[in-house]
């Protein structure tokens, strides 16, 4: 576990899990219970109702939570600084390498930051339609 990305991922779970639970719980609670009852009464079991009704309806919330958790972990600095070694550095810590004894290489830092923003930016562009859909969901009679 020590000095692996996998170990670092486990530590990130610790900080993003409350965030994910808090958001996703709200989305599950927003599903009118009558819709789940209707599926049960129609003859489907508990697990079938969970996977066919609750999960799809909470989908936008799960997507939103996933995106936020990713950004949260991606931007995290302190855990990586403390736990990661020189050859297992996430980008936030890696950017520090440009602050050297001979001076601060602002150009490289700026370039590094641009590169580190790129995946988050792309993901946000892709996921925004799910986020918007999530906001408009929730009409009981819909």
């Amino acid at each position: 576990m020590a000095d692996t990305y996998f170990g670092l991922i486990w530590v990130y779970q610790l900080i993003v899990l409350p965030l994910i639970l808090w958001i996703v719980r709200g989305y599950f609670e927003d599903i009118p219970s009558d819709i789940e009852y209707a599926h049960r009464i129609a003859g489907h079991g508990f697990w079938s109702t969970f996977t066919k009704i609750a999960l799809p309806l909470a989908g936008p919330g799960i997507a939103a939570a996933g995106l936020l958790a990713f950004i949260f972990a991606w931007n995290n600095f302190i855990f990586a600084l403390v736990l990661a070694s020189a050859d297992k550095q996430p980008v936030t810590v890696g950017a520090l390498a440009f602050i050297t004894a001979s001076g601060i290489n602002y150009g490289q830092i700026a370039a590094g930051i641009m590169l580190s923003i790129a995946p988050v930016f792309a993901l946000a562009l892709y996921a925004q339609r799910y986020l918007v859909e999530g906001l408009s969901l929730g009409a009981v009679k819909g």
């Binding site: 819709i35 009852y37 209707a38 009464i41 129609a42 003859g43 489907h44 009981v140 009679k141």
Partner: protein, 369 residues
């Protein structure tokens, strides 16, 4: 399949929502649950459906105790008041839901859904998602979903509440036939007394979590168990007049505006006790002033409804009385007039307990008073 509830009780925290509910619906019959909102009707349906469990009492379907039986194993179809359609599935998939649960093959599901959809006139919108359907179409989709699995017990929770007046009128004509075709035992919840009278083989009037009266629509209209029920059934609403019955040489009588209204002989036991006289508007009619017992009134307003004319009149003591008569029959539009009472249709209630004092000595619950 028959449905029997005995002594069912349900509380939410300290709040008793249902207490000692007992009724028995024979297979293939329709029971209408009628009561104001908050009376516990929806909770009762949920108990029968099995999505919540009773705190006490027993629910039996086809003579089998339902305690611990999951909702999916009860063989029930239910239409919710707010439709509760699956928003991410098309109307077709919504209706097919009970059939997929029964693991029918694709062709059978397809033809089953098509048949119901044609019957309910929604076959042209089967590909639409619920949010693309009108309220009436949603209502029919929800109804089709409840019927699709050919349930033994059908629970309809005020299915016509959220639809417009025209569709409600149409459905009021169509629904009884649809329900009869299903050959299921039906519990129909409504707040509309006309729907209750039209659909029910029997009506259970529920208020404050208790069943107040169970009977055929005629029973409930002609001998309501108390003044509350008398007021709920009937349009225009029943006239209730405070009276104190007296004993005369010809038997007990009540005094309305200085005129004697004869009561049934068995009412002699409430002589000199405060009572309420219930007079249906159609039990009153305009008469000539020379008629014995004619009550002088002043006609205030007249409202023509479709098939009847309703008149509001005021007695000399300032009590308001409503009369109704078939449309087209003559009657005074304003000013002084006289009314006669069809004494056989008069109902007498105890003023304190509000309960009916039955003319034959047997009260609505079937117990000798």
């Amino acid at each position: 399949m028959s449905l029997r509830l005995s002594h069912v009780r349900k509380c939410f925290k300290d709040d008793v929502v249902l207490d000692d509910v007992c009724f028995d619906v024979p297979a293939g019959k329709t029971l209408v649950l009628f009561g104001p909102s908050g009376a516990g009707k929806t909770v009762l349906l949920r108990l029968i459906a099995g999505v919540i469990a009773p705190d006490a009492g027993e629910i039996r379907i086809a003579d089998r105790d339902m305690a611990g039986v999951e909702p999916e194993d009860r063989g029930i179809g239910m239409a919710f008041q707010n439709f509760a359609l699956f928003p991410h599935l098309s109307a077709m998939e919504n209706i097919a839901s009970p059939l997929t649960a029964q693991r029918k093959d694709k062709g059978a599901i397809q033809s089953g859904v098509q048949k119901l959809a044609r019957l309910l006139k929604i076959d042209h919108v089967l590909g639409h998602k619920p949010k693309e359907l009108s309220n009436g179409q949603k209502q029919r989709t929800a109804l089709a979903r409840a019927l699709a699995g050919a349930p033994r017990v059908l629970l309809l929770d005020d299915p016509l509440r959220n639809v417009d007046a025209k569709l409600r009128f149409e459905m009021r004509l169509e629904l009884p036939r649809l329900i009869k075709d299903q050959n299921a035992t039906v519990i129909y919840v409504t707040q509309d007394y006309k729907e209750a009278m039209a659909f029910g083989d029997e009506i259970a009037v529920i208020n404050d979590g208790q069943i107040q009266q169970i009977g055929t629509p005629e029973d409930i209209y002609l001998s309501p168990a108390n003044t509350d029920i008398a007021q709920l059934f009937g349009d225009p609403v029943i006239n209730l007049l405070d009276v104190m019955p007296r004993m005369g040489p010809a038997g007990p009588y009540a005094i309305v505006s200085d005129q004697h209204v004869a009561l049934s002989d068995s009412h002699s036991r409430v002589v000199d006790k405060p009572c309420v006289l219930g007079l249906r508007p159609e039990a009153l009619h305009f008469v000539d002033e020379r008629t014995p017992g004619a009550i002088p009134v002043t006609v205030e307003t007249e409202t023509p409804l479709n098939e009847k004319t309703v008149t509001l009149a005021m007695t000399a003591r300032g009590r308001e009385i409503m009369l109704s008569r078939p449309a087209g029959t003559p009657g005074p539009k304003s000013g002084p007039a006289h009314i006669g009472i069809n004494e056989a249709a008069a109902l007498l209630f105890d003023r304190e307990s509000k309960e009916l004092i039955p003319p034959n000595g047997i009260n609505a619950a079937g117990k000798v008073a």
